[in-house]
Symmetry: D2
Subunit: 334 residues, 4 copies
Amino acid sequence: MLNVAIIGASGYAGADLSLIVAKHPNLQIGGLYVSEGSADAGKLLSSLYPRLHSYVDLPLQPLTAEALNDVKKCDIVCLATAHVVSMRLAPELVDAGCKVFDLSGAYRVNDPAFYPEYYGFEHENLKYLEQAVYGLAEWNAEEIKKTNLIAVAGCYPTASLSALKPLAVNNLIAEGSMPIINAVSGVTGSGRKASLTNSFCEVSLNAYGVFKHRHRPEISHHLGQKVLFQPHLGNFKRGILATIYVQLRDGVTDEMIEKAYKEKYAGQNIVRIVDHWPAVKDVEFTPFCDIHYQREGNTLVVCSAIDNLQKGAAAHTMQCINIRFGFEPTAGLL
Amino acid sequence: MLNVAIIGASGYAGADLSLIVAKHPNLQIGGLYVSEGSADAGKLLSSLYPRLHSYVDLPLQPLTAEALNDVKKCDIVCLATAHVVSMRLAPELVDAGCKVFDLSGAYRVNDPAFYPEYYGFEHENLKYLEQAVYGLAEWNAEEIKKTNLIAVAGCYPTASLSALKPLAVNNLIAEGSMPIINAVSGVTGSGRKASLTNSFCEVSLNAYGVFKHRHRPEISHHLGQKVLFQPHLGNFKRGILATIYVQLRDGVTDEMIEKAYKEKYAGQNIVRIVDHWPAVKDVEFTPFCDIHYQREGNTLVVCSAIDNLQKGAAAHTMQCINIRFGFEPTAGLL
Amino acid sequence: MLNVAIIGASGYAGADLSLIVAKHPNLQIGGLYVSEGSADAGKLLSSLYPRLHSYVDLPLQPLTAEALNDVKKCDIVCLATAHVVSMRLAPELVDAGCKVFDLSGAYRVNDPAFYPEYYGFEHENLKYLEQAVYGLAEWNAEEIKKTNLIAVAGCYPTASLSALKPLAVNNLIAEGSMPIINAVSGVTGSGRKASLTNSFCEVSLNAYGVFKHRHRPEISHHLGQKVLFQPHLGNFKRGILATIYVQLRDGVTDEMIEKAYKEKYAGQNIVRIVDHWPAVKDVEFTPFCDIHYQREGNTLVVCSAIDNLQKGAAAHTMQCINIRFGFEPTAGLL
Amino acid sequence: MLNVAIIGASGYAGADLSLIVAKHPNLQIGGLYVSEGSADAGKLLSSLYPRLHSYVDLPLQPLTAEALNDVKKCDIVCLATAHVVSMRLAPELVDAGCKVFDLSGAYRVNDPAFYPEYYGFEHENLKYLEQAVYGLAEWNAEEIKKTNLIAVAGCYPTASLSALKPLAVNNLIAEGSMPIINAVSGVTGSGRKASLTNSFCEVSLNAYGVFKHRHRPEISHHLGQKVLFQPHLGNFKRGILATIYVQLRDGVTDEMIEKAYKEKYAGQNIVRIVDHWPAVKDVEFTPFCDIHYQREGNTLVVCSAIDNLQKGAAAHTMQCINIRFGFEPTAGLL
């Protein structure tokens, strides 16, 4: 059994990840940590999340200097921490011999210019940024196997790239066109902290972050072409539905599209090409990404649905861990 | 006081309309009707909608031949009926001297070919189809004043056209491009009848009607250009949020866009250009259509939000009635 | 037109009240105020509540010493403020000649011992506490007409007392028994401020405040007998449903119960004895209180439903204003 | 591996049960069945429930005479069928050597008079009714081990009895008093079939079935004393929250209450005595029953929360199967 330390375990993604680790046949929780000053330090994780009772009855430990030494003894460290915290912690942990899986945005784009523009800070660890592999499980398995620092893909990018990459790598998208990603996320996407924005009485359905959301350049970078990404906040807890509009190259046939998706995902367990328009409820509390598409002339509409905390965070992390260590691809997940 | 008969008063739009008529200073309800065989015949409308108690405590009468004679004596008849029923009733009522406001799709597109393709029937009253005026209140007031048959705009088309027409009539949309309308509707949009699709446990968030929804050609027809319209069902009762992606013509300046919207809607009470991304909750239970837009290069993102039963049906009908009879534009609405 | 100042207008009850005043034929808004240091000071109320656009486009003014002088010139002052703030402001405003309607708990119970125990402070204005009249519109109209300080009933107490008082005043409740009030409130009941409790992702359905909720002694005091009150937080925005279990005195007949309710509420517009079990949706966005009951032997189950921001706060305040000034009982409300 | 046939697998409880069986280490699905004329016959279960894709990709077979022969060869048959169907099928299957777990109400009360009064039919198989054991896992394990016909407890009764039985068996409830059970259920409780009652737009929060709900006598029968049971429909999909009011016998101490709960449930995995008021979200998609209580004088308030499809149906069935076959108590569940 390998030991997994989860730092930032009190958040929604950290809690989901704790449960997945607890159920995994080859892993056990080495420790759950929160920041040193957190009001949750010392509490049981299951006191914050009663649904985890009996599964994960472990305390949230403050990440003191001493605790960090314990963390370094773990085989695997998952960082469900703020971007800057991840940026600083990851190198130290990699150097200590841990395999690090970072759920933040700190190592997702191998371009230093990206960070000041979209995250508001200069990246301090460019050497590690260079080594980091983008954790998009179905696409980067070979590289994931070889690195010690995996930057797990963001929630919106996972939904978007899973749907768009088969088209892009097969060169089916019209040159010069810009796919439009209209996505709606559940409120857990904005994290577990009180704010008027995610107050029950204020949530409805509305666009936000027009043109400027951090996930837009993340998607573009890993797709290899520009996209227009428009996020919305929806009145549900978990899930992302991305409805994507693509201009196809002239001459693209139905068969070419089908082949692009089928070749990539046939036999895959987590990304599923389904025969109906996916709904958020289809993937809620599951690791799946459901994709369906339809075409009219050179316009293709593709929908993909994920649970933003599962395939959009915790389950995707576990896919990367399974790949890195050669475990069953769906261990802990199905 | 003019008398208003509402046929199909038991549905969601009919109920909202009954309440608006009851509050209107110049109107009174002349009768509420349901189809002859309806299980609701004889019941009080307020027994179906307890929130209407004290406002509208009138029975739902079966539309017998005799009842139809009473209807014909009313000044105004609102048809919240099935498309075929409206198609057949409207001419008879117009001939009887009534002003007819049809909330169905039977008279919205002055092109006979539209009906077999999208509604599955041949239009039987082409002469009346020709006279009918499309009830898009902010745009067709002069024609509405002169006709006796108003085909009130559909819910999705109202949200879409209110946002797009200022661009189209000012020739700001890139030639050959096709605006993309990504819209999410609340469940009342699918009517008050039991079905698995609108069962509480089945509703989530998903696309439907890709490429083929009836409102797509309705929007294209009244916009004067093709659009891509993608509806979704969302997990809320009332409201539509349309997020619209427009390719602008080269040379379009910010001022041109602002002028297009401001000139049309400045001083308007119902369509409001707001300074934030509108949310469904902002317009729920109100007659408003809230619009906001932002641009990046030649791409414009426009959002519009309406209550699908108000500006998308009942309140829009009342705007048309107010225009037709020269009442205060917002009488019964604010 | 009388002038109404609303202090604490940025909260949910204050916003609803602003809209009601704006629609009232005899009233106009004299000013909207927030506390001096509020982050909302200077903003338009409609920027916080876009649904109020066109209805109430007035700024939220900070309640400086100077502003307080303006408030004192208003005929009516509504306090939608914290308990301690109300306790201190009300006397000064009454002395300035204003009619004061307090939506807080500061003057609801004419027993000084109540405040330290349930609100954590000593009441500083006992003379005014003595004069204050409990604003339960259907029950205290005669006293409301004569006072200048009305303590509008709380939300849970309004739902509970409207259902229980007809039984109590007719002596139908078994001596020594304690009615049990099981109530579920929408999340607006906990106010417009960010907290983990009312975060979208945390709200579900659960009991809270067992035995100790402040509204329990408020109900008991105004009912004239002890009750057991058990509040719950439910996953909806507006509304309260109270399901009440009453042990009847031996010898109570069906006729006695019917008479108790009918005599009180027949011909009333706001409290409605309905022929079905009321649902929260029946009263949402309305001023109504819907009541239904059924009996088995000596056990009576009574349900009452209100919108906690309307009959539970803003609409109830307006009923009291209408009574105090001799306006139409439902002016501004229907 | 034992074979499990699930009849009525297309319903909400059947679908949850299919997933649990599929994950169980000692069981496999022997067949999924629907009634012969069902519109779902021939479809994959996962086409009705896309979240089951990859887990349960089996067809729903029509229960023809021939299919029934296949069913009889299974070790275990679960009946998620209508009451009358279960009443007729169970004996035949027991006689064929199957262990039968009935999720309907057909064998829950060993009193023939109960059926005509509450279910509207005469029980046709009194001999089997006599042998049937009530499947309340934590209470009837010894009897469950010995029978071939288990009538799994209903959803509301499971929530109610889990909370009340420790008090009753320890004689802590005041003689002559009647515990009051105020319960709110999610909409899946009313089944997967279209009706206006469970239409998305009609669901809110309201009482129903006052005094007359079938689960009231089921609870009373298995508690050994009368109760008042008041169900409500709430606006959520899964879950039941029961808030229970109990009059304690004079002389009952805090220790006696604590002992009653602790002795029964200490070390139990499924029923959890928790240190906070349970919320529906705490148990959603879990097999747990969370219980918390507090006392004031001789009044005890107890809350219990379950997922109505899990501990209220499918997970509870699996607990009974695990008991009957000597599997790990939580196999397939945690």
